[in-house]
Amino acid sequence: MQPVRATFEKRRRAKYISHLDLMRCMQRAFKRAGVPVWYTEGFNPHIYLMFPLALSLGYESGCECMDFRIDGDMTPQEAMERLNRALPPDLQLLKIAEPVRKHTDIAAADYVIMLDCAADTSAEALRQAWDRFIAQPEILVEKKTKRGMSEVDVKAQAQITGTETADNALCLRLRMPAGTSVNVNPSLLTDAFIAWLPSNAPEVHTGMMHAERTAILCADGTDFI
């Protein structure tokens, strides 16, 4: 039995697959692919499959992780090739290797978020609005937790690693806490910005948001592998 960690991408049409649906989709892909995979033992055996960090609906990513165990005579490389034939083109495995880090090592994740400008707004105006928004001492948002709604300062949680304008859009690079104990969705910050805009920058309007996770990181700043 061979534990493996696959890195996969989730793009275009596949970004609308919810986390729960992704689990089922991968289970079926294993069956279609004919990959000998380890089943859990017990009354209702199912394919053992672990996703260390869930990705929000609507986010693209090229760095998603999934752990499973090959239970038979097949190389990880062949398992990957078979799985890719059994998966839609927008959901493909990129690499497969033995897991190095533990799930609990995950500490942060990097995101790139593009906020399109509405027709009446320039990228520069949107950027200036963002600068004023983010200059606030604190940015309090409601966050859903297991114990109900609570208020958090999302600015204190977020690390902004880049603010650029490009192609009539504002491009934000964010590093957010991630992992099993604390996990902050960057949409909390961008949604707060979009909500803040009408009263504070009435002439500035946003369009579509494109969000992508670009890295899953450990506490020491290295990639989770």
Binding site: R13, C25, P45, H46, P88
Partner: protein, 619 residues
């Protein structure tokens, strides 16, 4: 992919966006440049319902098996997405190409339920296609067509369609597409194409038939014109066992109603239950061989990755080789962690051999359909199930560890009395008693019997097509009797529904062409998704009836004479009206008719197919 950028910004604003973007495993992508004709296959309900439909899966794979044709899936959007589509002027699109369906060659609806009719209008409107056939002009495309069981009486929706496919579509749909391509390439107009298509067996073009009415509102005559045949006979495929079944399904990302692999094991039904439209519409009875069933199931499981396989038919235990079939399936499903489920089992041939095989399958309980509470009424409807058989089957199930049984019944059946209604609960109580008499019952577990009681809807092509439906008041009275009868029975639960949807179903099922205006009027008043109680507005329907000068009672509650011309009399589903009359007379006397494997009731099928349905010598 020009719509993709328009669709995307809307998706994160709606529930379950994966329903609107396609890209699922098994969805078939083709290069539009290679395609001669495109078929937008529309299911007039939500994705999660439509994606569960086996007929759609069969025809999707039949059409796509031809390299020059492309069949795409289209579903009715939920209200949140529909609102956004309308605000942003996003036309209804196919899930494969993400291109507007108004540019397709065929826009085909599958019609399995009368209460989806307003959704057809709404989808055509969202697509930007004229709703009435007469407004579509002479440009040949798109041809708006429909198939499915409701097409046995397509008159209430006749104004909205260019043509209907009657009966089985596996071969018929392709023949019509072939004709279309040939004629379109030769520059034919819409009516030229329809005139030629009307000559194909199984194609009904409603605009070629004039309907006149008597003073009392009944149909006087249906007169064909433009060379259309006087009666249109449904199509039957040439060889059911050899007919290709889908080896692949589109496997959805989001959960759907029936999220599993499905293999059709037999088509038609040999029972002749007099209330059951499917039992007459899908004749003759045909089986697939155990080898075919196993091979098709195995391919489907391999290609979809499903961990559940369901066998589909009107009555699976009527398969003459069910135990061989089960043994064949179990040999591979058990090793591959596949759950096997068998809906549609009958109580009169449920053997312990079958139970032993079923026991190896995880089961969430058993469901049986006695349909009526007393033997007299079961004889009237020709259910041919006795109380002893039900008890014997329940005993097998209880001995095998089952603690819950679901029973299906109807109310409002012809000749029904209050005693028949009370009989439902009496029968359920006998099942409860049987459980506590059992020696091998699981200790410490109570039994639970659920009785689900639906309102009977008389349907065309059944012996009860002549019968009035019970009025609202009669149904309310019977529901009260049922409620009183079940009170105090701790181990029995009874459920029933408000009858308004069943009344509308009865009207639309046996209605005539004048109802097109009612359906249009109801849709204009905001009626869609009528099958969903939260969307059903009976008052709006009544307003639409009033506006059209028609009333519900004429269609639902009127006894129809044997001499009356029915709106569907020019449609031929192989079953003779004289046979239906004979069966109705026997029903009045509570006389049963044997099932087709025991003796032939001369329903008309053999006369028209020229082939015996069974070789009796083998019995």
């Amino acid at each position: 992919m020009q719509l993709f950028d328009q669709i995307e910004p809307l998706l994160l604003q709606v529930q379950k966006p994966a329903r609107y973007i396609g890209g699922e495993m098994g969805s078939i992508m083709k290069n539009p440049a290679d395609i001669k004709a495109r078929f937008a296959f529309c299911f007039p309900d939500r994705y999660d319902v439509g994606m569960s439909n086996l007929g759609m899966k069969i025809l999707y794979s039949c059409i796509n098996a031809r390299p020059e044709y492309w069949c795409e899936r289209v579903f009715a959007p939920d209200e949140d997405f529909e609102a956004l589509m309308r605000t942003h002027h996003l036309p209804l699109y196919g899930l494969e190409s993400l291109e507007p369906i108004r540019d397709a060659d065929f826009i085909g609806f599958t019609l399995g339920y009368e209460l989806c009719y307003t959704n057809i209008l709404n989808m055509l409107d969202l697509a930007g296609v004229p709703i009435r056939q007469c407004d579509r002009g002479e440009k040949i495309a798109p041809i708006v067509c429909a198939g499915g069981s409701c097409c046995c009486n397509p008159e209430p929706i006749a104004d909205f369609f260019d043509l209907f496919f009657l009966g089985e579509g596996e071969e018929l749909d392709l023949e019509v597409m072939d004709l279309y391509v040939k004629m379109r390439d030769a520059g034919a107009t819409r009516s030229e194409f329809l005139r030629a298509a009307a000559q194909i067996e199984g194609v009904y073009v409603p605009s070629f038939y004039d309907v006149t009415y008597n003073d009392d509102g009944t149909v006087r005559a249906v007169t064909p014109k433009d060379g259309a045949p006087a009666t249109v006979r449904k199509r039957i495929i040439s060889d059911f066992d050899k007919c290709p079944a889908p080896e692949e399904f589109v496997v959805p990302f989001s959960e759907i109603v029936h999220d599993r692999a499905v293999t059709e094991v037999l088509r038609g039904c040999l029972r002749g239950c007099r209330f059951c439209q499917a039992g007459f519409l899908y004749r003759p009875f045909r089986e697939k061989s155990p080898e075919t069933i196993c091979e098709q199931s195995r391919k489907l499981i391999d290609n979809t990755g499903y961990d559940e396989l369901s066998l589909c038919s009107l009555s699976t235990s009527d398969h003459s080789q069910i135990e061989e079939m089960m043994d064949g399936l179990l040999t591979f499903t058990e090793d591959a962690h596949i759950n096997l489920s068998l809906p549609s089992l009958r109580v009169d041939n449920f053997s312990s051999g079958l139970m032993n095989r079923l026991r190896r399958v995880r089961s969430s309980g058993l469901t049986f359909a006695p349909e009526a509470g007393t033997q007299r009424l079961r004889d009237v409807i020709n259910k041919n199930v006795t109380e002893e058989e039900l008890m014997r089957t329940c005993k097998i199930a209880f001995n095998a560890g089952q603690t819950s049984v679901k029973l299906y019944f109807m109310m409002g059946l012809p000749t029904e009395t209050d005693d028949d209604i009370r009989g439902i609960i009496e029968l359920a109580q006998k099942v409860v008693d049987l459980f506590y008499e059992g020696e091998r019952r699981p200790k410490g577990k109570p039994v639970q019997i659920s009785c689900s009681v639906a309102t009977f809807v008389p349907k065309p092509f059944t012996p009860f097509e002549f019968h009035p439906q019970d009025t609202r008041e009669m149904i309310a009275h019977k529901q009260k009797i049922l409620e009183d009868a079940v009170s105090g029975h701790k181990r029995i639960r009874a459920s029933w529904h408000f009858p308004d949807t069943s009344i509308l179903e009865a009207v639309l099922a046996r209605g005539d062409r004048r109802l097109c205006d009612v359906i249009y009027g109801a849709w204009k008043r905001g009626c869609i998704m009528d099958a969903w109680s939260e969307h059903f507005h009976y008052d709006r329907w009544l307003d639409a009836f009033a506006e059209a000068g028609l009333n519900v009672e004429f269609y639902a509650n009127r006894e129809r004479s044997y001499e009356e011309v029915f709106p569907w009399d020019h449609i031929d589903y192989y079953v003779d009206k004289q046979f239906l009359i004979r069966e109705n007379e026997k029903a009045k006397q509570a006389q049963t008719t044997q099932h087709c494997r025991l003796s032939c009731a001369n329903c008309g099928v053999i006369k028209k197919t020229g082939k015996p349905c069974f070789s009796y010598s083998k019995q």
